[in-house]
Symmetry: C2
Amino acid sequence: MPKHLVLNVNLLTAGAHPAAWRSPGGNPRALIDPAHFKAVAREAERGLLDAVFLSDAVMLKGGGAGMPVSSLDPAVAVTVMAGATEHIGFIASTSATFQEPYHIARTFASLDHVSGGRVGWNVVTTRDRGAAANFGGPPESGERVLPPREQRYARAAESIEVVQALWDSWEDEALLADPVSGRFSDPARIHPIDHRGAHFQVAGPLQVPRPPQGRIPIVQAGGSEGGRELAARYADAVFTAQHLIPQAAEFAADIRRRAARYGRDPRGIKILPGVNPIIGSTVAEARARKAELDALVDDASRVRGFAAFLGLDPGSLELDRPFPPELVPPLGDTYGSEGFTGALRTLLAERPLTVRELLERGTFHRDLVGTPEQLADSFQEWSDAGAADGFNLQFARYPDHLTDFVDHVLPVLRRRGLVRSEYTDRTLRARLGLPRPASRYAPQEVSR
Amino acid sequence: MPKHLVLNVNLLTAGAHPAAWRSPGGNPRALIDPAHFKAVAREAERGLLDAVFLSDAVMLKGGGAGMPVSSLDPAVAVTVMAGATEHIGFIASTSATFQEPYHIARTFASLDHVSGGRVGWNVVTTRDRGAAANFGGPPESGERVLPPREQRYARAAESIEVVQALWDSWEDEALLADPVSGRFSDPARIHPIDHRGAHFQVAGPLQVPRPPQGRIPIVQAGGSEGGRELAARYADAVFTAQHLIPQAAEFAADIRRRAARYGRDPRGIKILPGVNPIIGSTVAEARARKAELDALVDDASRVRGFAAFLGLDPGSLELDRPFPPELVPPLGDTYGSEGFTGALRTLLAERPLTVRELLERGTFHRDLVGTPEQLADSFQEWSDAGAADGFNLQFARYPDHLTDFVDHVLPVLRRRGLVRSEYTDRTLRARLGLPRPASRYAPQEVSR
């Protein structure tokens, strides 16, 4: 029996397509509409998927000209969705760059309690200067500048250490809640963490008992050297931009090699490339659905968006001329996304592509256009090649494109034994196949 | 027709009484049980109360020996309760000392959107050294010490300025969400705030459109000079510890005088003393209910709790000897709560009280023991004397003591016309009688 694919749905407010909100069937107020979040979570649960994924930013991107894909506080959005569902997990992004680890530990422990063990933390670092400008301190501390990438990743790594220690600060047996003896807790099993590091000094313990999952799963989504190291050391799942099987397989192998060096089980890390599924009963119908959305965005603003993403002058790009490979930001550039630019570099090394072809392919993640059978074939091919343990699915529009996937693609995957036919495990952690570790502070010698 | 009292219920996990969790009818796991939060919110809504109030701390108080009264992230708890109710408001405490104003603005704007305009922010500053120890930075920044009170209040005031500017950064008309024209927003109505102050440099705009209430109500709960000034400048409601009518009336008059000096309408600020209602069909029955709970806490630990609260050596107190007034921490002490110690000083100036009598009276807030008619009489007396516009109600145990209040006291208040008989206004702000201001960035000359 084949291993199940991990399938998450990346909820980008109205949808991954910039015209989603204004197209027929789209929700023009999706960004602040709790009913929208609930509808997406319920559809994902009807499809027996693993988790709803929330990306995040701590700034208004693009000045609000289009619908922001990150608006509501992710903790609020997750709580809304958890209240409307029973099984589906939630992976929320929180930047370690501009939030204190004590707050992160408390928020995720709280989400884990109210959802019954269904959350994961996608650890991101912030590379936007616009975000840094929202977190400036006293004038004497100088202009708030973004720390260089290595320092951001070093802070993120230390943040994870602090957060995990705080989750462990109550052993599982610390909460007695015994009305007969009147003992609320066993204070000997509640521990200060006394963390003293390069970025943080945190005493602990946390004010929230150990989360139901014990250790909440860690997800990581950066493709740079620092991101890969962070993933190898801490991540239970990696969200990655990959357009071609050989490169994805090499990426997966690289992460696993690095994980083994940290003494971890390399198979314990799920590699999840992003995919934009575009479904039709024929390829032509699928393409027509995408074209309908594309027609609602004028070419100039698409080129502008693409140029802004790469930090290029829009005047340097022409829609129907080959994209000049030398314009791809170099590796090691401090503020770009190495995951995305690396994927782009790989694509262009294969063959020249026009700007229009790049935009049609899906510039950030791979567009996967076709019939349900074709989509299932592709998933299976990537999985068989060791290029993916599953996928982060980004739908052009919510909830209806997700509904199509649930109704048409998942039955094919289910017939092939590639996805579950019911929820069995109760927690996200168990569903990812991960054991539940005891607190680091628990006495090791006791066998129970 | 008399003015309605504002009535909030202060949800202290299992209840205000330290034995609540272990007593019959108590919830031993209240602190992490979403069903508990929902049950309390629904009962408060059944009683047509104004809001559920959540106090907060960012540390584990008392080492977890008893049930913490602040455990879950308040944003998570409010979202859980908002999802289970339609009308009741929620006032959540967030410390301006250890959280960035951008995060505060985003979280409360998010809560306001998902609740449909039902939240308020109780602005607190943190005076616990144990909390400071959870937020230490790099070693070169030195031991994290709590800034003195004046500096904490100066930071809080600036934090409110930044947060309110961020809430205004989208004018009401900024969000167009018009699928026909394809205009998501009017960028001319989305504004950077470019705040440059002594504590913060924040660029804005916020990534969340203007909250439904426009300006989310501000609540303040400190009794010191700095706290009173903060209340007078910004607060829409003040939560205060008051044991006697003349002092409470003088406190209310003081806040209103100060507010007038800031050019505000002094009647726009609601003064809400804390009260612990203990209800019985006779006074004796009410006392017996309290005694039952008291019997579950041994005297030594009650004295220890009281001594810890005042920063005293427990050995300096004897249960049945008069409490020495000279042990009350002096005014101006940096880390004590001046609201609580001031109330205690006032009480002891009236007549000597033993430690036991103080504990029985309700040391932090006023115990109000009696029949429904007696409770209603007291509320009316305080209101008529200008000592209160309403009360923050702390019940010994949730939800059943709140249920008794809803079933027995509220009908008496309703017959007297002192509380509403249905919810009419949709938002917490409107219910507090406050107008909805336009964004500070909106063009003033336009009449609509």
